[in-house]
Amino acid sequence: MFAHNFLYTLKILLGRRSLVFWTMAFPLILATLFYLAFSNFSASSQFEPIRIAVVRSEEKTENSEIFESAIATLSDPDQETQVFKTHYTTAAKAKQQLADNKIAGYIISSDQPSVHIKENGIEQTILKSAVDEILVDTDIIQHAAAKQIEIEMRQGNPNPDVQSITQEAADAVLNEDVKIKDISGEHLDPIMVEFYTLLAMVCMYSGTIGMEAVSKHQANVNAQGKRTSITGVKKSTLVFSSALASWLIQLAALTVVFLFTYHVLHIDYGTHWMQVILLTCVGSLAGLCFGIFVCTLPKISQPNKDSLIITLTMVGSFLSGMMGVDMKYFIDKNMPLVNKLNPVAMITDGYYALYTNIGAARFYEDLFSLLIFSGILLVIAIFGLRRQTYDSL
């Protein structure tokens, strides 16, 4: 009976073309859309020179000349340290360009330079801090030069070469280096988490297939359910065999999604392939058990059960970072219990743990949580189905 029902359930589910099509097509379409949206992400986190304008000082002073020279150095496209893309213009034109969003800000050079901006973004912050650094450096050089001049005069030199001393002081200040070593290693891409939430969402959506498979054994859902409810086959046999068939279809869909995202979109799942496969199977199982559980809930109509699965999966995906990876981190940090009960988050976190090599303990914790989640829901569902009679049909 098990094999008989299993094979026929496969046939019936595969005959529901719309269901099968969307099971396969939906994750592929979404993965492609994500890929298109995020393909520039790593590139865009590298630094782009900031567009600014400079209004040259009307009165040429030593300080203003030092300042403009420093800005020119920072704007040199041949230098690795280029920070700005600068052009020189009048105050009125610069004001208009700022209003028209053609520049991030403009500087009016003088003895006391001023920075003009319209908003507080990262570009404006970099502009301000670069200008401040020039002023600070100028101050330090002047202090150092003044001290050196004082030393020379005390040593008996009444006319020290101010220009030379200042130049030496400038060289010393600007060439002074500090040893800072970045030990981060390879930077992992947080955007991968988006794809992991997508996979997790697809795993949970397998609940709808599970529901389709099991509802044909529910007398209060359809006539076929009535018929199978009065056969001599145990409910658990029918439900398990139907569930297994729907799980197989979902795994086939997930295999296609994996191959596509790995080979075509080059998504990185880390190096622990066996664990990735294991997690996918268990995640899909969790979705299936969720669907079976919802299917057996009494006093809820079939359309409402569909909506329940969809809505809860959407909420779970959101809390796992699908619409912004920061949300997962925020929930994990501030409301950890929420994501400990959220199967989408468990699956996402499992993939994350494998990708970042954060440690086997975390991965296995997620895996076992999923198994416990599946087990509890399945037991409740079977227990409810076994002796199920209805108040009305």
Binding site: M1, H4, N5, Y8, K11, I12, L14, G15, R16, K216, A219, N222, A223, Q224, K226, R227, T228, S229, I230, T231, G232, V233, K234, K235, L238, R386, R387, Q388, T389, Y390, D391, S392, L393
Partner: protein, 313 residues
């Protein structure tokens, strides 16, 4: 007499207020076709669903093959077949696959199953439609498929809940013959229908229920006797006058008079020569008529008498 089904004091309410089945007791004898009759909302389907343990009930006991029926009575369920009012087949499977699937839930042995499926296809006269999908079948063929799925495993007990609803006369005749054939093969059948002619054609006994209560049970002849109507005479009078109706009502043995279109239908209790007496009366009172005929009461008359409404209301 061996009872296949024993229902004692069955009570079922919906939402604790609407009593769908009210202290209903009846037995079904082995090898008979029991007709279960009642107007819409009388509790027929509810009774069947309670017997099948699909519905919970507050009171009473149900035994099938002398064992208490429960949702997990799988041994009992293996002997039961059901033809539901709603067509219960899968759109994604062909005719043959549907029958094979449902038969396979009862019969494990592949060779035996193949034989049973073939017999069911022939029984339902679906040989030319094996590879068809349900969407491609007419209403009548779909009903035959529905029946084939319900009887393929050769159940000892069959529930046929309005098996011929929305079916053409040819298919209906075929279905009735098939059910009669099943009875000859030893299957006990509980047959629900709205068509009185079907009950009269194939049922051995009839159980009439209304508002969840048993009104009458017995063979068709017993019920007709029970109704008290012995003879019905229809007259189409030329003059349509209420005074005549009142006068006719005063005749001896008249139980009731009602109109049916242009005709007056007089129901007589047991007695003799009603037709002759009536004709004499009409002649002597110069009451002219176009048609007059006498007939035995039908089951519909019995039903009407007991429930106060036509079965098709």
């Amino acid at each position: 007499m061996n009872n296949v089904i024993e229902v004692s004091h069955l009570t079922k309410s919906y939402r604790h207020t609407i009593k769908a089945v009210d202290d209903l007791s009846f037995d079904v004898h082995e090898g008979e076709i029991l007709g279960l009759l009642g107007p819409n909302g009388s509790g027929k389907s509810t009774t069947i669903n309670c017997i099948l343990s699909l519905l919970s009930y507050e009171g009473g006991e149900i035994k099938i093959f002398h064992e208490t029926m429960r949702p997990d009575s799988y041994d009992l369920k293996a002997k039961i077949g059901v033809v539901f009012q709603d067509v219960a087949v899968f759109e994604e499977l062909t005719v043959q696959e549907n029958i094979n699937y449902f038969c396979g839930l009862y019969v494990n042995d592949r060779t035996l199953r193949r034989q049973y499926v073939e017999e069911a296809i022939q029984f339902a006269e679906l040989e030319n439609y094996r590879k068809f999908y349900p969407k491609q079948l007419s209403g009548g063929l779909l009903r035959r498929l529905n029946i084939a799925c319900g009887i393929a495993h050769k159940p000892k007990l069959l529930f046929a809940d309005e098996a011929t609803a929305s079916v053409d006369p040819q298919s209906r005749s075929q279905i009735l013959n098939s059910i009669d054939q099943l009875r000859k093969q030893g299957t006990t059948v509980i047959y629900t229908t709205h068509y009185m002619e079907e009950v009269e054609q194939i049922c051995d006994r009839v159980l009439i229920i209304d508002k969840g209560k048993k009104l009458a049970a017995g063979t068709i002849d017993e019920l007709k006797e029970h109704s008290g109507i012995h003879e019905k005479i229809s007259i189409e009078l030329r003059e349509n006058d209420e005074r005549h109706v009142e006068e006719l009502r005063q005749l001896p043995d008249v139980l009731e008079i009602r109109r049916s279109g242009a005709a007056l239908i007089l129901s007589f209790q047991e007695g003799s020569n009603h037709l002759a007496d009536l004709m004499d009366y009409l002649q002597s009172n110069h009451l002219h008529y176009d048609k007059i005929y006498s007939e035995r009461p039908t089951l519909n008359d019995v039903f009407l008498e007991l429930t106060g409404k036509e079965l098709r209301d």
